[in-house]
Amino acid sequence: MIFTDVQFYFFFLAVFAVYWAIPWHEWRKRFLLGASAVFYAAWDWRFLGLVGFVIVNTYLIPLLVARAAGPKTRQGILIVGIAVSLGVLGFFKYFNFFVDSFMEFFHLTSTTWKILLPVGISFYTFHSISYMVDTWRGKIEPTRNFTDVALYILFFPQLVAGPIVRATDLLPQMRVAKQFSAIDFRYPLLLFLVGYFKKAVVSDNLSPFVDSFFAAPAQYNGGDALIAALFYAAQIYCDFSGYTDMAIAVAAMLGYQLKPNFAHPYFAANLIEFWRRWHISLSSWLRDYLYIPLGGNRDGTLAQYRNIFITMLLGGLWHGANWTFVAWGGLHGLGLIVCHLWRKWRGTERNDPGLYSVSGHALTFLWVVFLWIIFRSPSFANLEIVLSRFGDLSLPTLLNWSHAAIIVLTMLATHIFSYRISLQKVGEKIPVKLFAFGYGCALAVILPFVNPKAAPFIYFQF
């Protein structure tokens, strides 16, 4: 059940109606928890037990830490809690990967287990760690309310593909009773429509071209490779940011505010800025729970670069059990180090003006697109073929130009529109009746362009 499925709309309408019909806040949360479990079970009910285990671990560890006597004991309990959550992630996501890699390295025969990857495991593991660490750091009081902790992990809008919400953001919101009349639905509805457009119209229409290219790159020429790389850059942005928009909108309709996860990343002037604009919740999570504990920039320049590199390497691995993801993360890390060196050499912490800025934008975009090729390639063998295609620069055969132009223009328009205009301001300015009528009209215009064979959201696999 994804946000673009018809089943989801029936599900959400039912949840929305019942949720707001319940007058008691605690019972609303319990209902939302039940609905989230149903949502997750619709993917695979067998993994409900696993999420339940992670929830219990996340609930108990901060309470035990709070009751423990000395700092060493508290730290020990925290490490155990994190190890349990990471252990679950490691087993289900990386066990086969490491065993295979080990066997391959030593030329041994591999016997891979059939381990299914539970959907959303990378996201809820990070939620779990965030809560445990933040309570240990004293940023938030551990709660005795099991529903709150369980709902923080299971809250269905952000359950399977983020954004990675901090306990410090969501738990205080859970303590406040929601008022239906206090919610202005214009902004969430508009945000949902924009997210739906990005996913169902732009991403799903680009997906067939990208998929056919990466499935058999040897059959295509350099023009096709270029188109496929640019399309993938557009696809992954529209897919993931579209999902996030819809997640934020759905949460807002239930009275919860989630932070934005994207801020026009392809307009970044350098890689440092790109990572402040792309998947913000992940990059800030990695900064707070990995880069800073590693030492951050406290131990000198070399140590800082080492920490950046390690953080990005692990950030790459977080995306999936494949060496291409590790390479993608590592190269982003190297790119970030080069940016830091450039800034040091130029003697400024701010972005360069003028021509430097223009070339910075262009270089950043090209580097990001190049790295997306690595990210999208299923293996290094496939990547080698893809890169070899660029040697044959002929006109693309993958699609006709009119179709390509429509797709790219639509994507650019969406990006620029959301860059220049704050949806919230637009939503608030339109009179309610006009908004309702216009919303219906806009939906009717969008639907013919939707690809009915909706592909799953790309980030669900992570």
Binding site: K433, G440, V445, L447, P448, P452, K453
Partner: protein, 360 residues
């Protein structure tokens, strides 16, 4: 207030969707769907006076040029069109016949139709252009009635609708797409005319030259399956009760409509193995219901028409190749010419089977 806003949104949606639909129609985009293109050709083609309509067995089996030539040998001038399509369901055939006869200025002579209840392809893929184009509210309601009143709905395997609610879900899913244009551009990019582009050069007939004997040689299982099916059909077994009174009435109502339009309705049973028991039960019930009524051409008995069951005349177990199509079409045309000669059409006027459809 909230309900007013919801109503306003719905109003905006449906007004815009209607405008979008009008725009698509003006550009002729929706009409690119295969069966609709065939219907348009059948209506526009000058002097078409005979419709041959059923599912793929007729699509690959009835050759309009052979039909007309055979009729001409008997001094009957016709210009026929094969309006058949793959897996054409009875409600879909009903719709196409009514559209064609209502659109024609006059003078249809014959409508040879095959009500194959085994086939319901238009309900199998709610996201196909054919389903989306077909299922407006009227057709969706009629087909829903058909599904709810049928005695059995055939199950054709994994991925196909199994229960009646599966059928209803697909029907109304397609109707939703019909009015909202959901996925319109993607839908119509996949299928334009496909095989129908070939058949439109042959007045709706789809010629296939393959020889079933080669396929049987390659795959003994197919050979065995075909031989067993023909053997069981040849035994003339007792037919189970598979067709409901409602289904019989729908067939009679369509026949009455055809007659009302001044044409002769001729019910056809194709020489096929798939769904033969359903076809057999329908023919039996129609004969019981109106013994001196609807003319029936029944080719379901392998003993009576052995040439039609020869693998050399077939593409596969259920479809003719060009040789078989010519043979079968000739047989049908000769039977119709015989009926003209012996006065069958003049005497058979529904005396024993009153129908819901008023007959003039």
């Amino acid at each position: 207030m909230k309900w007013r806003l919801v109503t306003l949104a719905l109003l905006g949606f449906f007004l815009t969707a209607a405008a979008v639909g009008y725009f698509f129609d003006e550009l002729g985009l929706r009409q690119r769907e295969g069966m609709h293109a065939k219907l348009a050709q059948a209506i526009k083609e000058p002097k078409i006076d005979t419709l041959l309509i059923g599912n793929s067995h007729l699509w690959l089996g009835l050759y309009p040029e052979v039909f007309d030539a055979t009729m001409a040998e008997r001094d009957i001038r016709t210009r026929s069109y094969n309006l058949s399509g793959g897996g054409l369901a009875f409600p879909e055939a009903d719709y196409l016949i009514r559209r064609a006869l209502n659109a024609a200025p006059c003078c249809f002579k014959y409508v040879v139709f095959e009500p194959a209840f085994f086939y319901n392809d238009v309900t199998h893929l709610p996201a196909s252009p054919r389903s989306v184009f077909f299922f407006d509210a009227d057709n969706a309601l009629k087909y829903s009635g058909f599904v709810l009143n049928a005695r059995v709905m055939s199950y054709r395997g994994p991925g196909m609708p199994r229960y009646r609610w599966d059928y209803l879900g697909n029907i109304w899913g397609a109707a939703f797409r019909h009015y909202t244009h959901f996925g319109f551009f993607h839908l119509y990019r996949q299928e334009v005319y496909s095989d129908y582009a070939t058949d439109m050069g042959h007045r709706g007939y789809f010629p296939v030259a393959a020889d079933f004997r080669e396929k049987m040689k390659e795959d003994p299982a197919i050979r065995k399956q075909f031989i067993n099916a023909v053997a069981s059909m040849s035994k003339s077994p007792t037919l189970p009760n598979l067709v409901s009174d409602d289904q019989v009435e729908r067939v009679l109502a369509l026949a009455a409509f055809i007659q009302k339009k001044g044409a002769e309705a001729i019910l056809l049973r194709a020489p096929i193995t798939a769904g033969w028991d359903l076809d057999g039960d329908l023919i039996r019930k129609i004969r019981e219901r109106c013994p001196d009524g609807l003319p029936i051409l029944d080719y379901g008995d392998p003993k009576a028409y052995p040439a039609l069951w020869k693998p050399a005349n077939r593409r596969d177990g259920d479809h003719f190749n060009t040789r078989g199509a010519a043979l079968w079409t000739r047989m049908i045309a000769e039977r119709i010419a015989d009926m003209e000669a012996d006065g069958t059409f003049k005497t058979a006027r529904w005396t024993s089977c009153p129908s819901k459809e008023p007959v003039q």
